[in-house]
Subunit: 534 residues, 2 copies
Amino acid sequence: MKAPIFIACALALSGLGCLAAAPTSAEPITPALVEKISQANFAEFFEMLSLPNDSIVAADVRKNADWLEAAFRKRGFTTRQLPNKDKPLVFAEYGETNPNARTILFYIHFDGMPVLPEQWAQKSPWTPALKQRKASAPPPAAPTFTPSRVSAQPTWEEIDKAQLFSGKIDPDWRIFGRSSSDDKGPIMMLLTAFDVLKAVSLEPEINVKVLLDSEEEKGSPTIGTVAAAHRDLLRADAIVIHDGPLHASSQPTIIFGNRGNTVVELTVHGPKAPLHSGHYGNYAPNPAQRLATLLASMKDDEGRVTIAGYYDSVKLTDAERGIMSAVPDDEPELLKRLGISRPESVGRNLQEAIQYPSLNIRGMASAAIGDKGANIVPSKAVAELDLRTTPGAGPDLLAGLIEKHVRAKGYYLSNGEPTDEERAQHDRIASVAVARGSAAAFTPLDSPVGAWAQDTLARVFAAGENPAKTVRIRMMGGSVPTDKLVDALALPFVIVPLVNPDNNQHSFDENLRVGHFLNGVRSMTGLLRAPYAK
Amino acid sequence: MKAPIFIACALALSGLGCLAAAPTSAEPITPALVEKISQANFAEFFEMLSLPNDSIVAADVRKNADWLEAAFRKRGFTTRQLPNKDKPLVFAEYGETNPNARTILFYIHFDGMPVLPEQWAQKSPWTPALKQRKASAPPPAAPTFTPSRVSAQPTWEEIDKAQLFSGKIDPDWRIFGRSSSDDKGPIMMLLTAFDVLKAVSLEPEINVKVLLDSEEEKGSPTIGTVAAAHRDLLRADAIVIHDGPLHASSQPTIIFGNRGNTVVELTVHGPKAPLHSGHYGNYAPNPAQRLATLLASMKDDEGRVTIAGYYDSVKLTDAERGIMSAVPDDEPELLKRLGISRPESVGRNLQEAIQYPSLNIRGMASAAIGDKGANIVPSKAVAELDLRTTPGAGPDLLAGLIEKHVRAKGYYLSNGEPTDEERAQHDRIASVAVARGSAAAFTPLDSPVGAWAQDTLARVFAAGENPAKTVRIRMMGGSVPTDKLVDALALPFVIVPLVNPDNNQHSFDENLRVGHFLNGVRSMTGLLRAPYAK
């Protein structure tokens, strides 16, 4: 059952058309109440986290699905599992549909990255532990992309988790465990938000549907198919995705899109077999040299792609540039952390840079270096380019431009290893192979769902001791596999991340800050209570 | 004891000054005699080949050294072992010194490349086998630099080796075994040449010293020191090196020098740690991209080094160009074999190309490709450049020019991994490390020893069914570690290779063609009998 909705067009916000009134019911939902209800739910959260959830194990996926169905049912949801091979997704819908309210489909995933248990400084990745920073702890190290290869810093010490369930709690405590942040934390925040509403006898102002994904960490290979098969069930006005961390400033964050990614493998073929570089150096063309020349021709010294047409689709408005420059990125600090003295010149700032499609050499190899190095002319050289795509510059367009560029540089493109005939006919031979990842997805900054979410977060966090502005990210640099969901349902969407930026997702020290859990519940309570009228 | 030397200045050849008379004694040394004496020696050769000779095993080196001393002593040499840690070299000197004759120091090595016995299509690499080409054998495959990774072609079949020791022999038979060609074959040819002379009661016209190296395949790291310690013992007028194969045409070959080699490791540093390419692509400079740009700036599209000064020392005379264009390289066939449609444009032909110093990317790596590839901005990129050096463009000069070029491109050179301070101060950071190999060595084409060797081979092979011209190689492309020997003794030298070009040296199917053994003995007999007067 939902509370009645009061239409109050006088309060309509720009871009939102006629909005339901912002309820005065925000007042009973105090931070103290959120803390109290959360505290009562942490034991249940620990139970959720103790279920192994690498979706490579179908039986584990089903255990999680069953557990989640029960947890949502307990709170008044009807649930069902959506078949997906042997790894069902979970669908949950709250109460009865109010035909006068908008419907939001919340997307969160319950599967987690694989673990190497021996790397975890606790009993198991699936035995959540409460930890606090050691008094003597060094300052946080620069995050690395491959943290699993780095031994754990002894920064944290385990404390009795019972402290979390009663008595005073410290917002700086962390809950360590696989999926604590990515992405079971937000599921528990959503469940808790419903408990908060119940505690003050309030109902959501929107119709709530929830889709819990079982294979996000594997790239959600089938989510488009599953969504298409349940289009009626999933029908909504917009999708809110809870995944990933808040902006580095930890301010409330709304993300309006994400780049896609596609990998192009570019191989330059040299002699048929590696050749003695003494006998044939200066004679047989070196494929690594040619690959270098080809790659060099694709970008200028400032990191801008020089391939004709690559950036043509990017047209940023002044308003968008304003939003980007308002993002509180601490670039001097960022440069220091990354260990570089100045960034490339693709955009005027980080946010602007990631609005452009990228052409990044993610790996390059020719013959061997180091102990296995030999004085040879290699027989081939390979560069793997990962392209971050944008809505206006998709994989086909970009890979096509690269292929055209390679041909324009005099290359004949062979289908893999060239034949003897091709070798005899063509001086320059290359191969191009394209492996598509996820696509870019984008909702305009002035979309109703964006404005609704932004307004809500602004209202929730305007009050209190530390009023916080909402960070708006036009398009995040990374890629998420939800493009297939968004595409199948043809819905506008926003990403509303909730967890701490230093949560170390995917790593052996994944954690969720308790204070962020509480703020996450506040955000979600706000979203549930913010009318988003038809 | 040596035969008396008849001085006959009327017969002096250009460039040789006053020569001893060409002896008429060539007549009794017929191909038939060479074949007969060789046949009598093959069992001894098989015994030599059955001694394992990877110089990593000092005990094996000593067994070879003892065996060789005995073999040379049997033929009238005085011998001794020259201490070299626990891997002695063998020195042998024939008879008494004739003060009126020139002294030649013959250099050959008895150590061999490591083996992987399971790769050999015979009992063992050290159980020499006699083989003939199968009737159904496919045409010879393109030689590869890394043949050990390729499974053996079933081209050869083993035949009873007793056939070699008596009865009619087929010059196309091959003796398979480690060091059959590289480089024990030439030792046996030399021993046999002495047996041939003895059979017709002739003595050498030159004073003969022999130095047998034990660590050539390991780069002869100490040969310079050993030579310097025995300068008197090794005193000679010139060095003749027997190593490597004949020119591809199998014609008699004289090589007047070789390029050296030095490896420059060029590292471009990127962000401190690999970065998520979604979040930081278009922002953090990519070191692989920068390395590519740097490498591209070092060569033009035709493969010519564009670094200022790199080729300045190369000044080829018309005479030298004439000698190079006279080398019977079958370039169309070569291109086909290498699988390329046209060569680089460093020289007008292969021989000319290898007179230039080279800058060859022998290996290149940044992050990973294939299964281990990830969407990252790598933290560094490395290229290993192998430079073939020339007498006028040595390692210091070339590595210095490369370093200067890198600086001129705006790079700060760090000593290995840059510090945080260096990272903060410099946009472009690279490191350059130089690992020297052997040096170039060169004897002028008109040197007396060259003319003596050339004239001898011309005379030996002018007669018979297949008269052959001698191929003169100004400077071969590859590198040999004998530069340290040549340097320590400050002597002119020539390389006189004797074995078949398709001997597959270093590989699991190393072999020596019987016909080449016989011709090798003829060449050596000719050299021993060719007066080379003071």
